[in-house]
């Protein structure tokens, strides 16, 4: 409820306006030769970082853009500069 996100087009808005799109996992793997296991991992497995993660958000009640942002999952605050993660 208290989350705010910064849309690249509309700026900082209430979290209500957005839909979460999951962790940033990179582009879809090629379908040819894809094993069930690696497909399942791409779709369903998450890192569930306790800290800063890069993730997708959709500005549903706004411009309709998908964008990535960094959020600290421990504080539920968007972070401007992602901390270096090893």
């Amino acid at each position: 409820m208290s989350l705010t996100l910064t849309c690249p087009i509309c700026g900082k808005r209430n979290g209500y306006e957005f839909r979460y799109g999951g962790e940033d996992k990179g582009p879809r793997p090629a379908e040819e030769g894809l094993s069930p296991r690696s497909w399942c991992e791409y779709v369903h497995m998450n890192k569930c970082v306790a800290g800063v993660q890069k993730e997708w958000w959709f500005h549903r009640d706004g411009c309709g853009t998908w964008f990535t942002t960094h959020r600290n999952t421990l504080t539920n605050l968007e972070v401007e500069e992602p901390e270096a993660t090893s």
């Binding site: 209430n14 379908e31 040819e32």
Partner: protein, 972 residues
């Protein structure tokens, strides 16, 4: 009772009389009274009985910090009558009593406290196990607060608002008002929240001199006027804060007055800067029988006189620990209260002017003395006092004991937002040491007591909050910091934890009847931190939200454990900081829905509307909900349907085809202009989520429809699944911009031919064709030949504003053929007879494309497109034990099972998706998702239906579709 009617500080209007009913009698109050003060004015001293011991309880804090004055008002239980303004004609009742609050038959419980040590529920009453249900019944009868009737319907209007602010200020006292004024100087929008019905805080009722010699209440009114006259400050009074969250999200609720459009409303504010100036409440003094009616806090007694014109009693004893107590004694003496003595916990450190004031009035003053006990039951007769060490004692006759150990800051708004507090040895407070970003604290809650310091800290915090909005106020902040540094800082506070008593009847928490003795017992049992002791003894878990024990509990625990390695640690405060009605959270019951452009026309034609998804749609066109006439008219003649709720999109741009290939399972590259392609979308699990048609209008320019339910999510879906690609295409949602009329039935062509300027013969415009032409020489339409209901059918898409016109044109043209509108239910039956599925009805979360028999849509050669769902479909292809969609025919042709009935043998094997009595076939038919083992033609299925009285229904699996299996009718 005679009121002090001429005080300048009054917040009542003595000339405006109001009435209330209590105990069958009609009492009189005045405008501005709370329910509790009106009762007090009529001589009521016992307002309630306590939770466990049924001890009489009276007015104690006048700020809602305990359940002492919780009563039932007009059927609503647990109303804090001390902060509820009196409305004319209300009926008030006491709670948790057998008899009345004055004469409670359960009063004997007080004598049984020896039977109920801390945690006695946990230790007794559960062995043997059958004891508990019996005991529970008794406990529920004797303990508790108000009861609510199951038939209770709350009255009033409830609302919610989300006002915008740059700076929000919590607390409308001197500090809060100064902060708001300072923040407003730069023109930013400021919101000020105040829990009481007026601004002024602790200046409001005091006649002590402000810096320039004027009384404090005049200064408070001056500040309030300035605030009210500043156009960019929006003030909410009677608006206590519920919670404060990340990024300065503040929630509150406001009680409306007689002129307001709401009874209560929820307020949610997001601010860049936040000032918390919530002030202090009093720290209760712990001594024996410290909650008898007649014992009250300093602020309660003082405000009762100054704000409501009611003297708290006739003969008073004061036992205080703060200069505010001495100030109140002097002021109340001047107003006519007789004072036996004033005992101060502190040996020294009092304001000399106040001591002089006491001396001038010949009021006995005892340094280092404290109340230890009071005599009396429903009123007090005598107060026993002793030195703080308990060696010497004295008694005084009195009918009111004004007792308070000092002050305690209201840090809830800070700590719920993850701010930190720490025990401060100078003030004896838990002071805020760390605030979240953008939050600033000010005023009395920072330990300040001097009136100028309070205002200066408010100004500083207000400026800091404006700086959080991105304004450069460094110079002003610097100056304000210097001003504050020159003024008196926090004062030393009294630290006495309890009077020298054993504590059997010393209540640390009034709401839960928790005594000092209970706390000792809990510590002896090994509970070492306040957080655990709170849960074990339930101290601070009542309606007062820890207002009474919040400060004393950690202090007492620290003292009793005598470990100086552990600083006292208060228990966690949680939202709601002030409880409110669920109705306020619920707000008004808005039915937000969409209407199609043909809504009114259908209404006029007798449409019966139902909420379907976000829409209100015409579901029936008569009171016959089987829709017999509507169905037969489509099958034998022609009908028209408003299909405007279909999702409609234009997808165009250089990469439009790539995007379509990604989300649709079919190969869209094969689509020819002038043709309609039916296809479906899956999710990444291969589960089918949507179906619809696609039309190619030009190179990389497509028009497509989705199901009604998916209309809202389709643009998001396209963009989500292409988010890494950087493709150049646009998705335009035309759902609300376009209306759709569907003309279906054997006579459909005859109707349409009359009004179009194009050749629409079966050869020129065949099934699955797409054409653009003009209706009546004026209305441009996009026409598709589809067959959802299984008849010759045209779907006309037009700009929404043309819809009513087009509808009338078609209706007029169809008159000679007997065209009739049909609703969503008729369409549902018609398409079911054709086994055309509706996703969500013939599918659920786990149903994939293959399960519903749409596998033929899937083009498995286009792997380069990375089609959503294709990888998963490949994996599930050989799976056994999935649910499969089958058609079935009932053995009893007159009886269709209800949708959702389950298919059983000795376990659940599937469920009925849609089943109806079919007028076209004279059979009862339907579709069901069943275990694939049961999907062979001819399998007998057993259906269990709710209310079937043990009688199972039987059907057999038959080939799909039921109606016109060759599909000739829609192609004719």
């Amino acid at each position: 009772m005679n009121r002090l009617n001429n005080l300048p500080t009054l917040r009542i209007n003595p000339s405006e009389k109001l009435t209330l009913k209590y105990k069958g009698r009609t009492f009189q109050g005045v405008s501005g009274d709370t329910v509790a003060t009106a009762l007090f004015a009529n001589g009521v001293r016992v307002f309630a009985r306590s939770l466990k011991y049924h001890r009489p309880r009276g007015l104690y804090s006048l700020d809602g910090e305990c359940s002492n004055t919780c009563m039932e008002v007009d059927g609503l239980p647990n109303v804090r009558t001390e902060n509820t303004l009196l409305k004319d004609g209300v009926t008030v009742k006491e709670q948790n009593v057998v008899g009345s609050a004055d004469r409670d038959m359960m009063g004997f419980m007080d004598k049984l406290d020896w039977m109920m040590p801390a945690g006695f529920y946990y230790k007794t009453l559960h062995k043997p196990a059958w004891v508990w249900p019996l005991a529970m019944k008794q406990v529920r009868k004797t303990a508790g607060l108000g009861a609510i009737s199951p038939d209770f319907r709350i009255k009033g209007r409830y609302d919610e608002i989300y006002p915008k602010a740059d700076v929000c200020v919590i607390g409308g006292g001197a500090a809060g008002m100064s902060a708001a004024l300072a923040a407003a100087e730069s023109g930013r929008r400021v919101i000020l929240l105040e829990a009481r019905p007026w601004l002024g805080g602790c200046f409001d009722y005091r006649s002590a001199p402000y810096e320039d010699g004027r009384p404090l209440y005049e200064r408070a009114r001056e500040l309030a006027t300035q605030v009210r006259e500043t156009p960019n400050i929006r003030v909410f009074t009677q608006a206590p804060v519920i919670g404060v969250y990340n990024n300065n999200l503040i929630t509150a609720f406001q009680t409306g007055g007689p002129e307001d459009s709401f009874t209560e409303r929820y307020i949610q504010i997001r601010a860049a800067g936040l000032v918390v100036a919530a002030g202090c409440i009093e720290r209760p003094l712990l001594f024996d029988n410290n909650e008898r009616p007649g014992v009250m806090q300093v602020g309660c007694a003082h405000r009762l006189a100054r704000t409501y014109g009611l003297l708290p009693g006739t003969q008073a004893v004061f036992s205080v620990g703060h200069d505010l107590g001495l100030e109140a004694a002097i002021d109340l003496f001047d107003l006519g209260l007789k004072i036996s003595c004033v005992a101060d916990i502190r040996e020294d450190g009092q304001n000399p002017e106040l001591l002089l004031g006491l001396k001038e009035r010949k009021i006995a003053f005892l340094r280092g003395w404290v109340a230890t006990d009071v005599e009396g039951g429903k009123s007090i007769k005598k107060a026993h006092l002793s030195t703080v060490d308990g060696t010497i004692s004295k008694s005084f006759e009195c009918d009111v004991l004004i007792a308070s150990a000092g002050l305690t800051p209201v840090t809830g708004p800070v700590t719920v937002a993850q701010g930190k507090t720490a025990y401060d040895h100078h003030t004896g407070y838990f002071l805020v040491t760390e605030t979240p970003k953008g939050m600033h604290v000010a005023g009395r809650m920072t330990g300040l007591n001097h009136c100028r310091s309070i205002e200066a800290s408010g100004r500083l915090a207000g400026l800091q909050a404006v700086a959080d909005c991105g304004l450069d106020r460094a110079a002003d902040i610097d100056a304000a910091e210097k001003t504050l540094a020159m003024l008196p800082g926090p004062e030393r506070g009294a630290k006495l934890v309890t009077a020298p008593v054993k504590g059997r009847k010393t209540f640390i928490c009034f709401d839960e009847d928790t005594t000092i003795k209970n706390i000792k017992q809990a510590i002896e049992m090994g509970f070492d931190v306040p957080e655990l002791i709170k849960r074990f003894t339930s101290a601070g878990t009542g309606p007062g939200q820890g207002g009474i024990p919040g400060h004393n509990l950690p202090l007492y625990v620290a003292k009793y454990e005598a470990l100086d390695t552990k600083p006292p640690k208060p228990t966690t405060v949680r939202a709601p900081l002030t409880p409110t009605l669920i109705a306020a959270y619920a707000g008004a019951n808005h039915d937000m829905h969409k209407r199609t452009p043909a809504h009114h026309i259908q209404k006029a034609a007798g449409g019966v509307f139902r909420r379907i998804g976000v829409w209100r749609r015409a579901r029936y066109f008569s009171q016959d909900f089987t829709c017999r006439e509507e169905i037969l008219n489509v099958r034998n003649n022609v009908g028209m349907l408003d299909a405007s709720t279909l999702g409609k999109f234009r997808v165009h741009g250089p990469d439009a085809l790539k995007a379509l290939q990604r989300v649709y399972v079919s190969d869209i590259a094969k689509l020819k202009e002038g043709r309609v392609k039916y296809s479906a979308m899956c999710n990444d699990d291969g589960c089918v989520i949507d179906d619809g048609v696609i039309v190619k209008q030009g190179e990389n320019d497509y028009y497509l429809t989705t199901s009604t339910a998916r209309a809202g999510a389709t643009a998001e879906w396209f963009r989500y699944h292409t988010r890494y690609e950087g493709w150049n295409f646009a998705v335009v949602n035309l759902t609300d911009a376009m209306g759709v009329v569907n003309i279906s039935g054997p006579n459909a062509r005859k109707v349409l031919e009359k009004v179009v300027d194009a050749d629409i013969s079966n050869e020129a415009f065949p099934f699955s064709g797409y054409r653009e032409f003009t209706v009546a020489g004026a209305v441009p339409v996009r026409a598709m030949r589809l067959g959802f209901v299984g008849e010759l059918s045209y779907e006309l898409h037009v700009g929404a504003s043309y819809m009513p016109t087009l509808w009338k044109i078609i209706e007029e043209a169809g008159k000679e053929f007997g065209i009739q509108p049909f609703g969503v239910e008729a369409q549902n039956v018609l398409r079911m007879e054709k086994c055309h599925i509706i996703l969500g009805q013939e599918s659920e979360q786990r149903t994939n494309l293959l399960d519903v028999g749409l596998g033929f849509l899937w083009d498995r050669k286009k792997t380069d497109a990375k089609t959503v769902g294709a990888a998963a479909l490949k994996q599930t292809e050989g799976d056994t034990g999935r649910l499969t969609l089958v058609g079935f025919q009932m053995e009893d042709s007159a009886r269709a099972p209800r949708d959702g009935s389950i298919i059983v043998d000795n376990r659940v094997r599937g469920y009925v998706c849609t089943a109806r009595r079919s007028f076209s076939l004279n059979e009862a038919v339907g579709m069901a998702l069943v275990d694939s083992q049961l999907s062979d033609i001819g399998t007998r299925l057993e259906i269990f239906e709710d209310e079937c009285n043990g009688q199972r229904l039987y059907c057999k699996v038959v080939p799909k579709p039921f109606y016109d299996p060759e599909g000739k009718r829609m192609k004719m």
